[in-house]
């Protein structure tokens, strides 16, 4: 989604009422952020909106990127935020062979998750299509990709083929490199 570098753009302050709504939305989408929300978005801090390509908006506080949103899609946390609070999102894992493709912006395909190096949640904790997940890599600690699932995890397991995440935010993409100061 952010393969190209993002040119520095104007930013604007978000109205406090809109900021409140966003905060609520973030919590609704990711209950995992609940314990940390005061730290992520203190009530006092003023939220800023940065326009991104493809009509997406990135929300920041004091030049720290928090999350971005397209239209009224669920907000997606920036990878730096995920690195700071890794437990907030459901995670899946890809095998080593897939890392280099992911980091060059390819869509994430099912075999990267179903192979021995990959990991998917079990049937009890299955994730639905549309759910935003953080993607870890085999042998690495940090998350390397975040995006919305195209298909549910159970379906991935049964099919083992096809696109899983096609528009994500990965390490080293334009959004990651965007400087905000």
């Amino acid at each position: 989604m952010f393969k190209k570098d993002i040119p520095p753009t104007n930013r604007s302050k978000v109205k406090s009422s809109a900021a409140r709504a966003l905060r609520q939305k973030l919590l609704d989408t990711y209950p995992g952020f609940e314990p940390y929300i005061e730290e992520i978005m203190p009530k006092k801090a003023s939220l800023e909106a940065v326009k991104l390509p493809e009509r997406a908006t990135l929300y920041t506080i004091d030049s720290n990127p928090l999350f971005f949103q397209r239209f009224d899609d669920p907000p997606v946390p920036h990878l730096r935020l995920i690195h700071a609070f890794p437990s907030a999102l459901p995670t899946v894992q890809i095998d080593r062979g897939a890392i280099r493709f992911v980091l060059s912006g390819a869509t994430l395909m099912a075999p990267g998750l179903t192979s021995p190096g990959g990991r998917l949640p079990d049937a009890e904790h299955a994730l639905e299509a549309g759910q935003v997940v953080a993607v870890k890599a085999e042998g690495k600690e940090e998350v390397c990709l975040v995006g919305a699932l195209k298909v549910g995890t159970e379906e991935i397991k049964s099919k083992g083929k096809g696109v899983v995440i096609d528009e994500g935010h990965y390490l080293g993409d334009g959004l990651w490199k965007l400087h905000l100061d």
Partner: protein, 214 residues
Amino acid sequence: MAEVADSGPIESQARRVVYCGVCTLPPEYCEFGGTAKKCEEWLKANHEDLWSRLHSEGMNERLTSNSRPTDLKDALNANLSELSVSVQERAAKDAAKKEAKAAQTEARDAERKAASKIQIKRVERNKRKYVTVIIGLEIFGLENKKLAKELGKKMATGSSVTRSPAGTEEITVQGDVSEDVKEWLLENYGSKVPEANIELIEDKKKKKAEGPAV
């Protein structure tokens, strides 16, 4: 220079992640960035503990293995044991290619930097009045807009980013401040801009007849 994830100082529950100063990724992903060697050096210099951890796991071995494939086969194998040989080879090749590309772009960039000059021009505006035009800052990784603002503050004059007829951006500072600008640039951005690349130009008689200027 270590960029650290920072989500506010209150009762910090956030994990602080070290990011590589060269490729900005978390160090464990440096090997995929194409500047693995530099990243490794940076990590060794700045975060010795992390470096030894990653290194002993054989994470950074991949790079060295490109030049000496046999020596480090073990480390490589341990790392990629689940992948078949052909996939390994392809991955290594890919990494090498990426690295070469990165090195090439960097070399080209450096060359361009060395060749280009920052021009500080004194342009006559009205017989005894001058403006100072600064061209070519962006090649050295400086931001015109920010710099214009800073210069305005420093020189206590108007300063703005303007579009030249050629379509490139330049900074126009009111008044004849070329010497000061040069000094200021070297003082504040000396690390980015070598002195030899700054050029002072006095553009005396540029405009022909600018109206009745007497």
